[in-house]
């Protein structure tokens, strides 16, 4: 969808991602992140026109968990607020629409989870339909293994390429102070490891992470008041493939391709792309669907293989690209977020700095 108002990311903060934030509850975990994003630009909650969050009660293990997390915002006097049971990237999309519609000029967006209280692969299996797949309890890693197998058999990737993606991502994460996994063993050593869910080895799988992220959006002059070089959202779109895994070609992500086209990736060169590919082979599906390659730097933060807070990892992709535009390192970047199993739902945004 082409924007009618210029809207930019002006601030981004994320947690120092951990396997288990077992000392804090969710509101205690996300409060420093929310206020970190506000403080970075000297904003107060009173400066924010709309607040939207992404999280999941299945991960929290309690009902209406997002309401309690709102305590971290300081929602008094009452604020205009919403929530999506999706990654924070979709909360950002809702906020972007709100600004496009003229209902707000600024927005606070955050996404987070503590995956540690539950058994994440089983919790994620609850995204499946309740009649056919759900009762069989396939876990998320086993499903990803099916997808990787389909790609290997189709000759679209090799196990060495997958290990290469893991190695490149986690080596890149050495420069990311927030990453959970920094550095990687050499590729030949990775390939000598046992399988976890054949053909996936441990390095092909994202870490289980507690953490979150927050972003501030602003329109037009408001954005320029807050930062010298806003990361303008030039295009943003999200699309969905079938929920029925048996009805899909698992080796491709048509919804990502379409979202990328609608977001306008092809209109110019892409300096940097942050892709929400939790499993190594999925990065290949996404670079193919989005037509990325050549000089585009992929996942310089390390991506979800370095830290994967569910419900935050997609929003972090937007923030990582925005940071690189705001600090002048990149002019044009692509951020991608996914939700559901095996890249079923895909959101793509194109961010640009002022020329």
């Amino acid at each position: 969808m082409a924007p009618t108002r210029d809207v930019a990311i002006v601030s981004f903060a994320q947690s120092d991602h951990r396997r288990a934030a077992s000392d804090t509850n969710e509101v205690e975990m996300i409060q420093p992140v929310i206020h970190g994003a506000l403080d970075k630009i000297g904003a107060k909650i009173a400066d924010i026109g709309f607040t939207c969050s992404g999280s999941s009660d299945y991960l929290a293990g309690q009902a209406f968990s997002f309401v309690m997390t709102l305590d971290a915002v300081g929602a008094f006097p009452p604020i205009m607020e919403s929530h999506v049971e999706m990654d924070g990237a979709w909360a950002l999309y809702e906020a972007w629409l709100k600004i496009q519609a003229g209902h707000a000029d600024t927005a606070l967006v955050y996404g987070y989870s503590k995956a540690s209280p539950g058994d994440l692969p089983r919790v994620l299996s609850r995204q499946l339909d309740p009649y056919y797949y759900g009762p069989l309890w396939p876990d998320s890693v086993a499903l990803a293994g099916l997808q990787a197998r389909a790609m290997l058999d189709a000759g679209l990737i090799t196990e060495a390429e997958m290990a290469g993606i893991a190695h490149r991502s986690r080596e890149a994460a050495r420069g990311n102070p927030h990453a959970q996994i920094k550095g990687s063993a050499p590729i030949d050593q990775l390939l000598a490891e046992d399988y976890l869910s054949d053909p996936l080895r441990v390095h092909d799988v994202p870490p289980i992470t507690d953490g979150g992220a927050a972003i501030v959006l602003a329109a037009g002059d408001r954005a320029r008041e807050w930062v010298d070089r806003p990361a303008w959202i030039r295009g943003i779109d999200h699309r969905i493939d079938s929920h029925n895994l048996g009805a899909r070609d698992l080796t491709a992500a048509p919804s990502a391709k379409l979202a990328g086209e609608k977001a306008g990736i092809g209109a110019g060169a892409v300096d940097v792309a942050e892709l929400h590919a939790p499993f190594t082979h999925q990065e290949k599906i996404l670079t193919t669907a989005l037509g990325l390659g050549g000089s585009t730097v992929i996942n310089p933060s390390g991506g979800p293989l370095a830290a994967n807070p569910v419900m935050g990892a997609g929003l972090i992709r937007l923030g990582e690209v925005a940071n690189r535009i705001m600090d002048g390192e990149a002019n044009r970047g692509v951020a991608h977020a996914t939700s559901g199993h095996l890249l079923q739902q895909n959101l793509v945004a194109v961010l640009e700095g002022d020329a």
Binding site: A21, S22, D23, T24, N25, E26, V27, E28, Q31, I34, H35, I45, Y58, G61, Q62, M68, L70, D71, A72, V73, G74, A75, F76, K114, S116, P117, G118, D119, R122, V123, R126, P130, Y131, G134, P135
Partner: protein, 195 residues
């Protein structure tokens, strides 16, 4: 004897007939004509969580084990929240100062329960209550006993009845119930905004 949830050893609610509208499901004719309709399927599902209370609730729960009720103070407006969540919902900043509260308070709101919804409910009818502890800005939930129902009123003074010291744990269930104190009522207006 009501049925029990075997996982939690707690009773399960039973709804009297007709309490909520629950009409029989209807099956469209094309399906009913060809087969015995499947009106429901049974898909057992359970997930287990290792839940983390967080730093402020941990302080609160540890206090309960010593028969102390620990609230936490808002860093800006000075209000004391109990039970604490670690955050001021008004300004979005962490609470830091712990405040030990009395186990005496005033009845801020109540209702008379005629249908026990499990969860260790006492025999019906009984009074469920919100109690504003002395010095607190938010009220706590409990059951009010040892008083005829028709005499219960907002503003009446109450106190906590604790389990025996040997049974104290890190649980709010340490307070078995609340009972009247022989003190004059507080004006209801003083409870406004704290229910």
């Amino acid at each position: 004897m009501p049925p029990a949830d075997t996982d939690t050893d707690r009773t399960v609610s039973e709804m009297p007939d007709g309490l909520w509208s629950m009409p029989q499901p209807t099956v469209p004719a094309p399906i009913a004509d060809v087969a015995e309709p499947i009106q429901r399927i049974r898909v057992p599902a359970s997930m287990h969580y290792r839940y983390t209370p967080g730093t402020a609730p941990t302080r609160f729960l540890l206090g309960l084990a010593e028969k102390k009720i620990l609230g936490e103070r808002d860093p800006v407006n000075g209000d004391v929240y109990v039970p604490p969540r670690g955050m001021s919902p008004v300004v979005g900043l962490p609470t830091t100062e712990q405040v030990e509260l009395s186990d005496h308070g005033s009845l801020a709101a109540f209702c008379v329960v005629h249908i026990g919804f499990g969860v260790n409910a006492p025999p019906t009818p009984f009074v469920s209550a919100l109690v504003l502890l002395d010095g607190a800005a938010t009220s706590v939930y409990g059951t009010l006993l040892e008083i005829p129902i028709e005499e219960v009123r907002i503003g009446m003074r109450v106190e906590a009845v604790w389990v025996d010291d040997a049974e104290l744990t890190t649980s709010f269930e340490n307070i078995r119930y609340w009972r009247p104190l022989d003190e004059p009522d507080v004006p209801a207006a003083t409870l406004q905004g704290h229910m």
